[in-house]
């Protein structure tokens, strides 16, 4: 009797110790999660704080007269004349008319510096779309230069950054502001234009299209190859030293630094097969090499998770092995395979290093329309912008990061959603 009482007190003592250990462990977990979330929060706050400005751009309102003589154009439908047209004269004239007291070459150059040097071409596009405007005058919002944009945004925020502006320019902006002729509006250029040396004209459309083309090719190549390899290895291949060797090497490939794949692509696809540089084809091929191990590994896991009882049932019914795979294993493993593919694609979307090696880091203004057009991709665009000296590229870089992260979040969320949605339970 005494002994059992003794034991009970021992158990009680050890129980408090055990409970404390468990509580401690739970706290470790909570702290770890908090640190992780805090890191993510800091990242997001920093990026959004820096990048939100890029979604707005500064515009200046001017009265533009589409003067045929000034342009030197007789026929709007003649492409040669359009090229020769003096489009820059339109915004310059408008500025001179607005600030009539400006004289002297230097001041005039500063005055013209208020507007983006692409303003003339914007007006050309507008005129071509609306030919009836010829020889009329209209009040229109024109894109401001990036230095003006940076100054105006920082001035609105209360910490004016005027280092790159002359005093006169500051005065002009003040005047425009008082008259309500300068304002911020949605920066559609960011989503509709390709890269540019002028930050206010630079957009991510080219990079997004490049990413899209590259990813489409990557998916088209890596998903069928990866799934076939996974199914063959899991269902058909004999289990011997060779398949073990292959398995080890697939896992090794998954751990190879991505820049090595870039070098491989450079050596094989470009130097040996003479695929053109900088094009989505070669990017897609390199990213396929890189994503294949991921897709094979996740697909194999998905095939493995199909219960053997289903296989037995199919075989027991007289299904051939191929029918068993096609009718039963594949449909059941598909959600897992798709999840793996999406995660692989997300990885490929964020990949920069291998693409640097195959020339997708070039400065490309045109928006790629096919697999053989020179292109760059979003993460490389971020890299390029981060490297640019203009202050206005800081917010562009952050904005591009936000767009990239949005795509990644969408892809990863859809992977989770797909898994939850399609997953079957037995």
């Amino acid at each position: 009797m005494n002994k059992s009482v003794d034991n009970l007190s021992k158990i009680k003592r050890s129980l408090t110790r055990r409970n404390r250990a468990e509580a401690r462990f739970q706290w470790y977990g909570r702290v770890a999660i908090f640190i992780g979330l805090a890191a993510v929060a800091v990242l997001f706050i920093d990026i959004i704080g820096k990048g939100h400005g890029a979604f707005q751009a500064t515009y200046i309102n001017l009265n533009v007269s589409y003067d045929q003589e000034l342009l030197g154009i007789e026929n709007l439908s003649d492409p040669e004349q359009l090229v020769m047209g003096n489009w820059d004269a339109l915004p310059k004239l408008a500025l001179r008319e607005k600030f009539t007291d400006v004289s002297g070459r230097r001041d005039k150059r500063r005055l013209y510096g208020l507007l983006s040097n692409g303003a003339g071409f914007d007006l050309k596009d507008r005129l071509l779309a609306n030919p009836q405007l010829l020889n009329t005058t209209e009040s229109i919002w024109l894109l401001a230069d990036d230095d003006i944009d940076t100054y105006y945004k920082s001035w609105l925020d209360g910490e004016a950054y005027a280092a790159r502006l002359s005093d006169k320019q500051v005065v002009w902006i003040d005047q425009l502001h008082e008259q309500g002729l300068i304002h911020l509006q949605l920066n559609s250029n960011l989503f509709t234009r390709g890269d540019s040396r002028e930050p206010e004209q630079a957009g991510i459309r080219g990079a997004v299209m490049g990413s899209l083309l590259t990813l489409v090719l990557t998916l088209m190549l890596s998903f069928p190859i990866g799934v076939s390899a996974a199914i063959y290895l899991e269902e058909f291949a004999p289990k011997n030293k060779w398949t073990d060797f292959i398995e080890v090497n697939i896992n090794n490939l998954a751990a190879v630094p991505s820049i090595i794949f870039g070098l491989l692509g450079l050596a094989i696809f470009i130097n040996f097969f003479h695929v053109p540089r900088s094009v989505p084809i070669v990017g897609g091929l390199v990213l396929t090499l890189m994503t294949l191990p991921t897709i094979i590994i996740t697909s194999r896991a998905a095939v493995k998770s199909v219960p053997p009882s289903i296989r037995e049932a199919a075989l027991g019914m007289g299904a051939s092995k191929f029918q068993m795979v096609l009718h039963h294993v594949l449909p059941l493993a598909l959600p897992g395979m798709l999840t793996g593919a999406i995660i692989g694609m997300a990885q490929a979307l964020g990949e920069t290093a291998p693409l640097l090696m195959i020339g997708m880091v070039a400065f490309i203004v045109d928006i790629p329309g096919s697999f053989t057009d020179p292109a760059t991709v979003l993460p490389v665009q971020i890299f390029l912008w981060a490297d640019s000296p203009e202050r206005a590229f800081i917010e562009k870089t952050s904005a591009a990061i936000m767009v990239l992260l949005t795509f990644l979040i969408i892809m990863n969320t859809s992977a989770v959603w797909l898994r939850k949605r399609l997953e079957r339970r037995w």
């Binding site: 037995e312 049932a313 027991g316 019914m317």
Partner: protein
């Protein structure tokens, strides 16, 4: 061969008699007046039963009872099965007669499931599994190189231990076999096959309203009957059942057993079971396996009332298993 066999049981039975300790263990219950009558507590008996297991099986060569039939559907001769280096079945010879229900019983790991799975070559899928000996159905060797397992499995259906319907609709489950074998010429044909199969598996009344709902949504017993319906949809000649009721409750079990009895009118059935009562209820003949050897085959009634072999007796009286 079968007439000559009749003399063997006696011989086989007399062999172990040379070892008094073993004999004592197995006879302790039936003949209390033997010289070991004093040993009555379980403690004393247990080690001797162990001895019975270890010694007898090593010596055991011959199957006692009536292994063979004049009206055989399947004939198995000198079957040895190996998993890699490990031998799982030792020299088993047995016939399964037409339209008979053959029960296979024995302690866990005795090889009865392995043996059952050699009958439709399900063991082919197991890595390192090797089958020796002759297995014939209607005189045709099932392990002939030119025989296609797909055809064999259409002729020898199988029902597994755990109900394993495909994660598809009830209809699709039953229609799968006829579809892949091209048995139905039209949709109407297929509908008829599905209905008939479900009727034969006495499931039709319960599921006719929800044929297009997933088969995995049925109860365990219904799922198992669905698997039986699926198996009989391709009109096999033989149905193999591997402990079909081990995952079911008693009511579902009773239904399956009733079904087995009905099915035996049209099919030849080989059933592996852990439940001796079940073997006694549903089967015509019973085969007792022990550590990979076929110990005794006899009409079920005889096995459960007057087993010929002491190991069989030990097993059915619950002394090991």
């Amino acid at each position: 061969m079968s007439p000559a066999d009749t003399a063997k049981p006696a011989k086989a039975a007399s062999k172990p008699a040379a070892k008094p300790a073993v004999k004592a263990a197995s006879k302790a219950k039936s003949k209390p007046k033997a010289k070991t009558a004093a040993i009555k507590t379980r403690k004393a008996v247990a080690p001797k039963i162990k001895a019975a297991q270890n010694l007898d099986i090593a010596d055991h060569q011959e199957t006692v009872g009536k292994s063979f039939s004049d009206n055989a559907k399947m004939t198995m001769r000198n079957i040895n099965v190996y998993y890699g280096d490990k031998q799982a079945i030792y020299d088993v010879s047995i016939d399964i007669a037409k339209n008979e229900v053959m029960a296979m019983i024995g302690p866990s790991g005795c090889g009865k499931s392995t043996f059952l799975r050699t009958l439709n070559r399900m063991n082919d899928t197991v890595e390192g599994c090797r089958v020796e000996g002759d297995i014939c159905m209607d005189g045709e060797n099932l392990y002939a190189p030119k025989l296609d397992v797909v055809e064999l499995r259409a002729r020898v259906g199988m029902v597994f231990q755990k109900p394993n319907p495909f994660p598809k609709s009830i209809y699709e489950n039953v229609a799968y076999g006829p579809k892949i074998h091209g048995l139905a010429d039209s949709r109407v044909d297929l509908d008829e096959i599905v209905e008939n199969s479900l009727r034969k598996a006495s499931l039709w009344e319960e599921v006719k309203e929800r044929l297009h709902q997933p088969g995995t949504g049925l109860s365990g017993g219904q799922q198992q009957r669905l698997c039986i319906a699926r198996a009989i949809a391709v009109s096999p000649e033989v149905i193999l059942m591997d402990e079909p009721c081990s995952a079911l409750d008693p009511i579902a079990t009773a239904k399956i057993e009733e079904l087995i009895e009905e099915l035996s009118e049209n099919f030849t059935i080989a059933i592996v079971t852990h439940s001796m009562q079940q073997a006694a209820r549903v089967s015509h003949r019973t085969a007792y396996f022990h550590l990979g050897k076929l110990i005794e085959v006899n009409p079920t009634e005889q096995v459960f009332t007057m087993p010929q072999h002491q190991l069989t007796e030990a097993y059915i009286t619950g002394r090991f298993g």
